[in-house]
């Protein structure tokens, strides 16, 4: 049953993404001001939104773990954070390529770039810390604590950078006033749905690995005790 779900989610997400890439590259007209590279928006922004969505899902799992002490929630949290990191990385890399072509620079300490980068760094600390903890309960509790702290920090990072208006490179309409052309809305939404489907499949595979690892650890400990 679980295998079927993973395959269904993964294959439907991949097919949806391929269909959407065809629409983006072959059907949609180029963006008026930026040309073809403007279409990067339809991958770049949905990846960021998928990453953010998954970070918040992971925090919900972390809170659930602290409340219930059920290891399934810990496995789900780490799996979802790993997938969220991949989407954040996609967002950062595509943004960097886009920025190099349009702004002439690979990186700037713009409000959004900094927030995404800090998200990545905060949860990188989470992923680096986990293997350094041997005991399963301790690892899960501490991981949940770090995940909640990191989530609380993200709005403050955003606020801290927004306080100083000079640190913004994204054009005004992207940040506040603009709306997406109606023809671009559906591909934008499909990209996000495809990312979420693929992300869910990957997270489910990762949950299975995490559960297996915990079981092996506990068997190894039992063996040592004997």
């Amino acid at each position: 049953m679980r295998d079927k779900t993973i395959y269904t989610l993964g294959i439907s997400g991949t097919l949806l993404l391929l269909y959407n890439l065809h629409t983006i590259l072959m059907v949609l007209p180029d963006e008026a001001a930026q040309g073809t590279i403007g279409k990067m928006l339809l991958i770049h922004a949905p990846a960021a939104i998928a990453g953010m969505t998954l970070y918040f899902v992971a925090v919900a799992y972390s809170i659930m773990f602290l409340k219930t002490k059920n290891f399934a929630y810990d496995s789900a949290a780490v799996a979802v954070i790993e997938v969220a990191q991949v989407f954040t990385l996609i967002n950062l890399v595509t943004g960097s390529i886009w920025g190099h072509i349009i702004w002439g620079i690979w990186w700037t300490w713009d409000a959004r770039l900094t927030r995404q980068f800090m998200c990545f760094m905060l949860y990188l600390g989470y992923l680096l810390m986990r293997p350094a903890l041997n005991e399963a309960t301790q690892r899960a509790t501490i991981s949940a604590f770090v995940a909640i702290f990191a989530a609380a920090d993200i709005p403050l990072v955003w606020l801290a950078i927004r306080v100083h208006d000079a640190r913004t490179q994204h054009p005004g309409p992207v940040l506040e006033t603009g709306t997406l052309d109606p023809a671009w809305r559906i591909p934008f939404l499909i990209s996000w749905i495809a990312f979420m489907l693929i992300g869910s499949a990957l997270a489910m595979v990762r949950v299975r690995q995490e559960n297996a690892r915990r079981e092996i650890d506990s068997l190894r400990r039992e063996l040592h005790a004997i």
Binding site: G125, A132, Q138, T141, A144, F145, A152, L156, V157, L159
Partner: protein
């Protein structure tokens, strides 16, 4: 509640007394702060006015680096002879133990900062005396944020392998919003700018309030399980 606060003060007094007897963390932290200050003077060959522009940033980098040595010790000092297990098993709540450790680290870091500030001013020709009192207020607020998050992560990493490496990896990214606010205010105070600093100040206060509440609530899960 009152008993918890008294227990916290008791733990803080114990930690401070232990530290003042050996002065291990204090001496190391002050020496480290001075070394970093000297290294900065080699690293930046700037004119006096240009140096003022980055003065707040450099000052807070010194404080944060020195602070890592202080907060790192707060829970590790209880590991030998299983003292931490005894403290956790004692009747006081976990938040009291944590708050006591935070107060002790806060006092120690404030001492390091108050020693470093005149040396920083002296070595870099920065006038800090005129803005001392508002600066002291900022130091109290931002140092509280550094210590409460730092001691929380010290509790988290006490049983982690490579804890000396893990603490800065987890702690420094977390401090970014606090440091942005503190650095901006410090630079403005040292330069004598009278601009509107309320947004930065709010940021520092919100950071303190949010992480104080979160740490005090969640520390029970970390220490007791």
């Amino acid at each position: 509640m009152k008993q918890g606060l008294l227990s916290a003060l008791f733990i803080a007094r114990k930690d401070l007394r232990t530290e003042f007897r050996t002065k291990e963390a204090l001496n190391a932290s002050v020496s480290f702060a001075l070394v970093v200050l000297v290294l900065f003077s080699f690293a930046f060959d700037l004119g006096r006015d240009e140096f003022y522009d980055i003065s707040g940033g450099l000052l807070w980098l010194v404080y944060v680096f020195a602070g890592a040595l202080i907060v790192n010790r707060s829970f590790i000092r209880e590991v030998p002879n299983d003292c931490l297990d005894v403290l956790i098993a004692s009747p006081m709540p976990a938040w009291s133990l944590f708050l006591g450790k935070v107060i002790a680290s806060f006092v120690l870091l404030m001492i390091v900062e108050l020693v470093s500030l005149p040396v920083y001013g002296l070595l870099n020709n920065i006038h800090w005396v005129d803005s001392f009192w508002p600066h002291l207020g900022l130091m109290i607020l931002a140092t509280w944020g550094i210590t409460i998050t730092g001691v929380a992560f010290s509790a988290v990493t006490v049983n982690v392998r490579l804890r000396e490496l893990m603490l800065p990896v987890l702690h420094y990214p977390m401090l970014i919003p606090l440091l942005i606010g503190a650095m901006q205010i410090s630079t403005a105070l040292l330069k004598g700018d009278g601009g509107d600093l309320s947004a930065d100040l709010r940021l520092v206060v919100v950071f303190d309030a949010m992480f104080s509440a979160l740490s005090l609530y969640l520390i029970e899960f970390i220490l007791v399980g």
